[in-house]
Subunit: 417 residues, 2 copies
């Protein structure tokens, strides 16, 4: 019993919108263990929707439609399905009442075209849409074939899917075991290098281990199929421990953790405070830190010292050192970190100065050269040099620089000072 | 002569990746004026790829495949196409040489499995892949049917598409007229309110006008079909002028413009400088400003005054006012803006203080309450209050606050001081 996803909408064929519904449904079907071999996109055209049904109904037993349930003449998914199966449409008065009520709530009056949304093939069951006006349906037009329709708006579709399709599929025997996943997060190690170290785990069947890379960091996702979360965790935990052991200092967190949230947790646990001095990142490090609700407990603020004069005036960077070594130098990074720590009276000070590009690079200081300064509670002040690839875009160099600063601070917080 | 997109990859059916290739190709086909009625996703399975070919080849004359060109046993797009048309695969020695060279450049040795990538059906023309190891092909297995294959990696696929498929389609008579678009950008007006004002333009056929909303701002895209850019501009320009006239101060830029780039251009034109004082945005405003290459010409830096003590110590905010009115207040916003302008010796100072949530809101100062301070070159200091929806997420409240600050500064720079 395979399921097939059919997304209806000329806007998809024009490339006006990204088809995120098909990914969402694919993931859901995979988690429930429902086989799923084809996806189709077809425009708002009755003949072509008929053809898509003809093909899909002959190879799959569950057809999942999204899109084309709106009030306009373009929206003809329901009409196409009922005419393909020679079944008349019937009007559901409770849908009209529901639409009228929703319009009234927002002070609007229902238009005649909305009546269309109350029509469903005779014999179909309504799928209520709590978040919009277009209901869907679940219908068995013939033995062994079940059809679902959902609106194209992802938020509405997803809620209706969870509320109606998932319970139905469970009654059909699916979803008795579910896939549970845990992501481990790493920083400072390339995907290929990490993959090589844990290569022996990639052939594991349950749980599976798969690498993902992006935004300068790497994740390993461990996925277990099990009847419940406790059983899944029993499968996942030993693999997670082994990977953490292998990855060492490069491992920094799980699932929704970010470098900023991990740093925040460590600072809170130690009762310590932090300030930042930013040049090439221009505020990006502060923004990452304050993305975390409650960060005011440990993050006091900082200085965006984009111009050299600000480095001197607000951070007490030595003007002669600045002139001699340049703004992108180890000594300036150290003075910025020490300066912001002193000025903001915090336990830690982290600074970033670098060449983000695309212009401004020289032979000795190319685009991608970054110095991170770290002033520690014990008075120690370090300056660490990085050379990111000059080929990278300004945005990525800036984000990598800020992440690098957080990662260095994390390592120092973890080993103690 | 219709084109059909067939994306091959079990990872798409598992929902592991979003199918952005089908959107890219849809948009490209629409711009070239190539009819396009169906898209299919099928897994890495020869029988099912055969079935997809059978269906598509009977209703379309151009089949565009993406994915399944890699070196692993899973990758079987080329094999499936050649076996469907009973055509033997032949090895292209120039592809092997190319792969060997690419591996050598990165210090690796070509594996035997890569040889597979040099196989193409007899009679097919190679499509070189400058950005990867997997070449594609263009092949006419029978009269009236043209098949393209591209790798699944979007960057590689897109480059090969532009270099090879587009020129081919132009020789077939497509793309003689092309769609040219211009986006107009607005801030500070809801999509529905703007749409109402320009409602009479939405029925226009050439150019068309369509609204897009996202990330707190609104765009109107004007698209004209024309033989060349000059003709398109002649169609677009009067509509653009009319819309700008109607939208007034809410219009801020075109196409790739951002509020930060527009503010930067205005500051550069006036030879003026800017500094920022950020509380709830934590560096986000500085980051937006420094996203723009060359922003060091006018952006000097700022103070992230997350803690109240930093507002007092570094920005000379009055401690008594702070205690009496609270950090999120008009007077503190004004003192922050004036303070940073003075401390950093800039022409303009912009400040932001607000309640980003999710915690920290009170009855009198709910989540979403934001004050923007603007200190102008003439000595004038304003404090402007905004109440964003408390229901919005922390991230959006922070981004909207920073954008609001840029937008207020833009308006002041445009009307002069």
């Amino acid at each position: 019993m395979a399921a097939e996803v059919i997304c209806v909408g000329t806007e998809l064929l024009l490339g006006d919108i990204l088809n995120s519904n098909s990914q969402y449904l694919a993931k859901e079907l995979a988690e429930l263990g429902v086989p799923h071999f084809y996806q189709t996109v077809v425009g708002d055209n009755i003949d072509r929707v008929h053809q898509a049904i003809e093909i899909a109904a002959n190879r799959s037993s569950i057809l999942i439609f999204t899109g084309g349930l709106g009030p306009t003449p373009d929206d003809l998914t329901t009409e196409s399905i009922s005419s393909y199966f020679n079944t008349p449409l019937v009007e559901h008065s409770e849908v009209i009442a529901d639409i009228q009520q929703k319009f009234a709530q927002s002070g609007r009056v229902m238009t005649p075209s909305n009546r269309k949304q109350a029509l469903q093939p005779a014999g179909a069951d309504l799928l209520p849409n709590p978040a919009g006006t277009a209901p869907g349906m679940i219908w068995q037009p013939r033995a062994g074939l079940t059809i679902f329709t959902f609106p194209g708006v992802p938020r509405e579709m997803q809620r209706m899917w969870r509320d109606t399709a998932v319970p139905f599929l469970k009654t059909q025997g699916y979803g008795q075991s579910t896939i549970y996943s845990r992501s481990l997060r790493f920083f400072g190690i390339p995907e290929a290098a990490l993959a090589e170290k844990v290569n022996h785990l990639f052939n594991s069947a349950n749980p599976t281990v798969a690498p993902y890379a992006g935004k300068g960091e790497v994740r390993l996702r461990i996925s277990a199929r099990a009847a419940n979360e406790a059983e899944a965790n029993a499968l996942i935990e030993p693999i997670a421990q082994e990977i953490k052991q292998i990855a060492g200092v490069h491992y920094y967190g799980e699932d929704e953790d970010t470098l900023a949230s991990v740093v925040g947790g460590l600072l809170k646990a130690k009762g310590q405070t932090l300030s930042v001095a930013e040049s090439c990142t221009g505020g990006g490090l502060g923004q990452m830190l304050t993305d975390i609700p409650g960060s005011s407990e440990y993050f006091m603020g900082g200085v965006i010292s984009y111009a050299n004069r600000v480095k001197i005036d607000l951070l007490d960077v030595n003007a002669e050192d600045l002139a001699a070594e340049g703004a992108v130098s180890e000594i300036v990074a150290r003075q910025m970190a020490a300066g912001v720590k002193t000025k903001l009276r915090t336990d830690w000070g982290v600074s970033i100065t670098g060449v983000a590009g695309p212009g401004g690079g020289t032979d000795t200081k190319p685009v991608g050269l970054v110095y991170i300064g770290i002033a520690s509670p014990n008075g120690n002040v370090e300056g660490i040099k990085y050379q990111l690839s000059s080929q990278r875009e300004r945005e990525l160099i800036r984000r990598m620089s800020a992440s690098q600063g957080l990662n260095l601070l994390r390592q120092r917080l973890q080993i103690g000072d």
